[in-house]
């Protein structure tokens, strides 16, 4: 019986030849991640159990990205505690201030995750790293504490769902449109407890940035992880960013899947997830006049350089609508600098955009762009739940960067071809 890529990575980390869905395994972890929101609870447990050290100070990553620059006294105090913990336990990878970026854009960029790795993170979007052919999944702070101390933790081997994509992509369409299409098709619990595996010629044609976007939103379909085959683009990405040894795993031809979906990429159009679930997906052309107060282009989903490039293409020579605010959030300092060098900052500033430092900030209604009652936003983020970006009576529409930029110019949800 064959195994999927997810099963193979889990088996290899559990010291087993073979695992199957439903099996409980104890697996070694290559990296344990927490942020300024989840680490405080984790450190409380760390203290409670009387642990002395983390399992490996080079394999614990702490990123102060959610409320950075610290939004209030409590968040500043949390970061202070975590900073002291990092110093005491000689944690190599502590990110704050000028070296801090949004964790799921930062870790691959810093070369901390490579193909074949098993990563747990106290953040649900940890599944992003599946784009690199790694198994990565979100856990709570308590599970993270266990992993951080022991270097291994229990997993239930998930069933896999395969999304085989063929055909050519239309202009402007990116990974965001594909993953929104899939969530719209299977629902927010359509992949509950499952691994979502993406392959096919249309997937090979996608950039690494688009693959990160897709893997990132696996959790929005209830998935345990999203995962991609390692190809020449993954190899080039790893060569550019990391010196860590990697391992390439591939699904066997006779691997078992709970479901297989065949998706024609040429039929995927620019999609928007309407309030208040990521599965409430409509084609952008189906939407009538939807006035917009704010646009956010950023986040662990779509704050990478190709996202900013797409936004700059649409915004160049145009102005943001008078009644709309457009906030651009490069996800990491490196992306920030690159966008500046490419001249995107001039385009954004000329258009009347606000350029924010890297932060999760408004995506979760934390700070740096929170919505008032009745306000409506188009965001390249990942969740549009009730009150996600601010007041419970505000609304979020999720889209890719080109639609977000076009909407900022028109002051209503718009297709980039209208510009």
């Amino acid at each position: 019986m064959g195994m999927t890529i997810t099963e193979k990575i889990l088996a290899s980390h559990a010291g087993k030849e073979f695992v199957e869905p439903g099996e409980i395994i104890d697996a070694q972890i290559d990296l344990a991640l927490a942020n300024d929101i989840t680490a405080p609870l984790s450190l409380e447990e760390f203290e409670k159990v009387g642990a002395k050290d983390v399992f490996d100070p080079e394999k614990v990553v702490l990123v102060m990205d959610h409320f950075t620059p610290n939004k209030d006294i409590l968040s500043a105090e949390n970061c202070k505690k975590i900073r002291e913990f990092a110093a005491e336990h000689k944690i190599t990878h502590f990110y704050e201030g000028g070296n801090c970026g949004i964790e799921h854009a930062l870790l691959p960029e810093q070369g901390l995750v490579v193909a074949g790795d098993l990563v747990i993170g106290a953040d649900s979007h940890t599944c992003t790293y599946g784009a690199m052919g790694a198994f990565a999944t979100g856990v709570g702070s308590t599970d993270l504490t266990y992993g951080m101390i022991k270097g291994h933790i229990w997993f239930k081997v998930p069933e896999s769902i395969r999304f085989h994509c063929y055909g050519k992509w239309s202009k402007w369409v990116t990974g965001k449109d594909l993953i929104l299409h899939i969530i719209g098709m299977i629902g927010v619990d359509g992949a509950l407890y499952a691994a979502m595996e993406f392959d096919g010629e249309a997937i090979s044609a996608l950039s690494m940035d688009s693959r990160f976007t897709i893997a990132n939103m696996a959790i929005e379909a209830g998935g345990k992880n999203g995962i991609f085959r390692v190809d020449e683009k993954t190899m080039l990405y790893m060569k550019t960013h990391s010196k860590k040894p990697y391992r390439v795993f591939e699904s066997d031809p006779d691997a078992r899947y709970r479901q297989v979906f065949e998706i024609d990429a040429s039929k995927i159009e620019l999609n928007v997830a309407c309030p208040s679930l990521p599965s409430n997906v409509k084609n952008v052309r189906e939407l009538g006049d939807v006035d917009i107060d704010q646009v956010i282009i950023g986040s662990c989903t779509n704050g990478r350089i190709s996202d900013l490039e797409a936004a700059a293409q649409v915004l160049e020579g145009n102005k943001v609508s008078g009644h709309t605010r457009c906030i651009i959030i490069p996800a990491t300092p490196k992306i920030y600098r690159q966008a500046m060098r490419e001249g995107y900052f001039d385009i954004f500033l000329d258009a009347g955009c606000i350029i924010s430092p890297p932060t999760c900030g408004p995506c979760l209604g934390g700070h740096m762009g929170v919505l008032a009652k009745g306000e409506r936003a188009v965001a390249t983020t990942n969740r549009n739940f009730i009150g996600r970006m601010g007041h419970p009576e505000s609304e979020v529409y999720l889209a890719g960067p080109a639609v977000a930029a076009a909407s900022a110019i028109k002051g209503r949800i718009a297709h980039p071809e209208e510009i």
Binding site: I24, I37, T38, P40, L41, E44, E45, K48, V49, G50, A51, H66, F67, K71, D72, L74, S75, N78, G121, A122, D123, S124, T126, G138, V139, G140, S141, T142, D143, T145, Y146, I149, K150, W154, K156, V188, D189, L192, Y193, I219, G222, K224, L277, L364, G365, G366, V370, R383, F385, I386, G387, R388, P392
Partner: protein
């Protein structure tokens, strides 16, 4: 273990941003988190709910983020148990790790808000009016973990040895 309580009904896909909005996540104190539990859709929930009350919900309860503040906020109000058609997977692990009991059963359409409900946690049998439903069994591995006192106590024992 037998528990009895009044029912509070919530629908499908109750996400963690509803259970505890992210703007409160700089707090870790259970009492303060409890005061904002379910705030976006039921702002006065924390005032009306009484210790021992039970949440009954639809599918995919706890979807969204990995924040452990969510089960902490629910437990802080004295709610011992959530019964839902299904749970999101990270929330499921977190709740057990934090001592909040969860049962999977599809009862929401046959029960009224405020009704008294009785649950035998060890057998998973849920009783109200003349109705009786048995919840999906808790996975044996989770039962074992609960019997060891939960993940953190299990870890503590390992470290002490």
């Amino acid at each position: 273990m037998l528990i009895k309580g009044r029912v509070w009904k919530f629908g499908d896909n109750i996400d963690t941003d509803i259970i505890i909005p992210a703007k409160y996540l700089a707090m870790t104190d259970p009492k303060s988190l409890g005061e904002h539990c379910m705030e976006p859709i039921a702002p006065s929930f924390h005032e009306k709910v009484m210790a021992g009350d039970i949440i009954v919900s639809g599918s995919n309860f706890g979807c969204g983020s990995s924040r452990e503040h969510a089960p902490i906020a629910i437990s802080a109000l004295g709610i011992p148990l959530v019964i839902a058609k299904s749970f999101a997977r990270i929330f499921y692990r977190n709740a057990f790790n934090k001592g909040l009991a969860l049962l999977e059963a599809d009862i929401i359409d046959n029960i009224d808000e405020g009704e008294e409900i009785g649950i035998d946690l060890s057998s998973g049998v849920i009783r109200w009016r003349d109705m009786e439903v048995t919840a999906k069994p808790i996975p044996p591995f989770m039962v074992e973990l609960i019997n060891k006192g939960g993940l953190i106590n299990y870890l503590k024992k390992q470290l002490e040895e």
